[in-house]
């Protein structure tokens, strides 16, 4: 017959609860809390800047109608470039070592940054089309000049980051791809021949492609975080 000291058992139990409590206090309770805090810390300034310049661009396009198709695409080109820069921050400022050894690591930080940026881009695009008075031809034209090349160029540039760890190089790739897409659209007069339905398909397709390639890149990075093997 084993003699169990019930008092000691109870004390152990209390100590365990205390330890659990300490650990629960130490870490973020939810994922959303982590993402939210990370986003505010990392993107606050970018977002304020983006919103303010967006306001300026919208006012300009409303005042000078003929500028719309220059201003708005230009805004998205620049915004996309800044977003790329965000994704390369660790290389730029050599913060990678600190990032890799933290909970966030390369994989998660890439994923969160991409999610935040894409959600933000969607909001901006949504607002553009809500605020600007456009007929259906203009609507198609603007979609083809902004969303479509943005997704394609970002997707290609982000895929190249692992190979070319150089901000200048990535920026050039991004601009060149964006430029090529826009030239192609004009060369084939896509904005004239395409119908609204087809246009939405094209944009939706490029969006899905973008998401899938981001997920693949995330997986690749996550594996490279457990750097061994």
């Amino acid at each position: 017959m084993v003699n169990i000291d019930l008092k000691a058992l109870d004390e152990t139990k209390k100590a365990c609860h205390q330890e659990l409590h300490l650990i629960q206090e130490k870490y973020n309770a939810r994922y959303s809390q982590l993402i939210w805090r990370y986003m505010v810390k990392e993107y606050c300034k970018l977002f304020i800047f983006a919103f303010m310049s967006f306001g300026a661009v919208l006012i300009m396009s409303i005042m000078f109608q003929q500028m719309t198709f220059v201003c708005i695409p230009l805004y998205f080109v620049i915004f996309g470039l800044l977003a790329l820069l965000e994704n390369m921050k660790d290389d730029l400022y050599h913060t990678k070592e600190l990032m890799v050894t933290s909970y966030m690591n390369e994989g998660r930080s890439f994923l969160y940054r991409t999610i935040v940026i894409i959600v933000f881009q969607m909001i901006m695009i949504g607002m553009t089309f809500l605020v600007l008075p456009l007929n259906s031809k203009e609507f198609i034209y603007l979609l083809l000049l902004t969303v479509f090349p943005l997704f394609i160029a970002e997707m290609i540039a982000l895929s190249c980051i692992q190979l070319i760890r150089n901000l200048g190089g990535i920026a050039v790739i991004y601009m060149v791809v964006y430029g090529i897409v826009i030239v192609c659209i004009h060369y084939f007069h896509l904005e004239v021949i395409i119908s609204m339905k087809e246009c939405l398909w094209v944009v939706g397709g490029s969006f899905i492609l973008y998401i899938v390639s981001m997920i693949l890149l995330y997986k690749q990075r996550k594996e490279s975080t457990v750097l061994w093997n």
Binding site: Y93, T95, E97, S102, Y103, M104, V226, L227, N229
Partner: protein
Amino acid sequence: MELVLENINKKYNDCYAVKNVNVSLKTGVHALLGANGSGKTTLMKMICGILKGEGEVHFDDIDLKNEYDNYASHLGYMPQHFGYYPHYTVKEFLEYMCIIKNLSPQYSQKRIETLVKQLNLEDKMNTKMKKLSGGMLKRVGIIQALLNEPDILILDEPTAGLDPKERIIFRNLIASLSSTAIILLSTHIVSDIETIADDILIMKEGEIIMHDNYDELLKVVEGKVWELELPTQEGLAIMAQKRVVKSHNRHQSIHMRIVSDQKPHILAQLVNPDLDDLYLYYFEEEPNDETFDH
């Protein structure tokens, strides 16, 4: 608690930076001592999972490769040189580090306050990172590594650039942690580790050539350290032949401390060795004897 490294190897273009390292580290302070380029940083990066290489690392039952998230939650790492966003203030930087370490806001705030107080950085909290001096930056690096109360603390040259007062504060801080964490620190400043290290790992060309406590290590050079005072001319000749730890010019003579297997001069006196002597014994080749034969 135990951190085990098994068969760690790392090659850079056919040249080993870390070679065949097998060590097991228990709670306490372990100092990694070695010349420039002996592979200290490389080994530390491998322990932190930053560099790929051959071999196994595990902390108790947690394997670095398979459970990196769990492993990293026990880890605090201070790189030899670390990057930061230059526009951040010290406070913002530390908060950022807490966020990416997934620490809760209440816990982070308390922890930052305590550590900043301990390392005397309270008045620098609102200074931009890029405006900090080298020593202050080191201290921010140390705080950053301690934020999550790590069980494994890896510090790559933490004391380089600290002034004597800060070095003492750092030593006391490390000593206070030594009973609850596995601390591995690399340094060139021998006096830093004499007092606090439980054991010392000496690294040469990627290999750990010795791993023992301070007293045991010194036994290697016991009976090999000499002090001697000679007239300048004769003294200079001896200095060219032997490994000299220290020398000091007086009026017409030179006082020197020499590490040598044989008695270097008839007047030489045996003295007690210290870590500097040991370091020199391993890392400096004896000058060629034949050139200066009398």
